[in-house]
Amino acid sequence: MPAAAQTQLAPGWQLETTGLFYGEQLRAKVVEPTGRLTRQFANGRALSLGLAVDAITGASPTGGLPTGQVQTTTSSSGRSSTTTADAVPTHPFQDLRYAADLGWVEPLGSLVSASTSAHFSQEKDYASIGGGLKTSVDVLNRLVTLTAGAGYNRDRVFPTGGTAVGLAPDDTPRIPGDNPKEVRTGLVGISRVVSRRWLLGATGSQTRETGYLTDPYKIISLTDPETQLPVAQVNEKRPSERLRDDVLASSVYHFEQDIFYMNYRYYWDDWGVRSHTLDMKVRHDLSSESWVQPHVRLYAQSPASFFVFGLTQGRPLPEFASADERLGPLRTATFGATYGFRVPGHRGEFTLRGEYMYQWLVGRPPTAIASSTNTPAGDDSGGGGQHLGTNIGTILIGYTVPF
């Protein structure tokens, strides 16, 4: 929102509620209702309160290697799960997360707007509290808007059963207690009305994280050098600092009827992770009361320098290692569409979005030899190990109403 536009919003209340239903094939399922109440005041000031609850159940990959045979893993809370042959081992979990945020917008004159926010979240093994500040200024006859912002977060990680000792065997006794983590972010942005139809923008941000950055439940398989079967497991270990950078270029273009949105983000950090994200949407009005918005998002990531699919037993352990697929050579493709409509005579707007996501790792080694009915190692002609992707579906319902 450009600084000047903030002072023109009609005073009043707005309520926005959403419900997310998220499901990964054979893995996690999440249900997340949210609510947001906004009060717009006459002088351009605004107050906003948001609440969200996440109920997460299901299974998450442990980081272990798939093999040609059935594996049984036991989670830190003592629950065991069985993994079928060729499937990525997972461990079951269940969690409830609460989050709340508060925001305030204050116009400073007709060309400048400032906003502050505070947020808080709590779950079984993670607590986070933080705040942010953002300012925007309109210049060049309100054709260009400059934005700068900063944020600070203080988190506590207190894994169930204690903190795992990095790169030690996974049955090493865990250390009780909290692990702190600090996150500091800065961002600058510029946007420009290029023509009557075209709005362009770019932002750059940098984030520094310090503290406990390891995933407390992920392990790495140690494989036998000959059979390549996983024979042992060690906990993962990540550095205690991370510097992240990203640039985002955005474009909004209004054709005769439809509006085309395109975002490209390039991300890099000092763990070696680099990624490209391309996100495109088209807003098409079906009538004066309804619209449809198809959406495509493509994502490609190159792995962290210390990412490994598995480690070989007997070799010296590296300083840092993780088999978490979120730090690996990951690809995500998302396809979906939103349908929005107003009920005649009613001021509220409903939205319904369905999306399909497919996520996979490239370069995954073929699954190790197992039973005689399996194909030998090295033969990747359709051995399950090469194409282990995750199918994810989401449904998001939303309702926004002014009053």
């Binding site: 929102m1 450009p2 000047a4 536009a5 002072t7 949210t34 007709s110 707007s113 925007s136 060049l140 054709l143 260009v144 400059l146 934005t147 961002l187 600058v188 942005g189 510029i190 946007s191 420009r192 009305v193 290029v194 023509s195 009557r196 139809r197 709005l199 362009l200 923008g201 770019a202 932002t203 750059g204 984030t207 990203d246 640039v247 985002l248 270029a249 955005s250 909004v252 209004h254 949105y261 983000r265 991300y267 890099w268 992770v273 990624s275 994200t277 807003r283 918005q293 994502y299 990531q301 962290a304 979120r326 990951l330 995500t332 929005g340 939205t351 994810i392 989401t394 939303g398 926004t400």
Partner: protein, 74 residues
Amino acid sequence: MTTRRRTFAALLLLAGIGVPGCATVHPWDRDLMAKPTMRFVPVPHEMAVDDHIYFSKEGSTGGMDAAGGGCGCN
């Protein structure tokens, strides 16, 4: 590209957006820009949900959007 060169290139891209162009946009040509759908995030609650999903499932963060556009009134 080294990190410093990447940062410099990023800042250049940012600055490039602000450089005055050939065609100016008259205040009365802001009719389309005034529409609530003419902003970087047309459906804010979707962005909040997506940020959370992709943050949990991928290794990257950020891409926060800037303010901009609008009817330019007052």
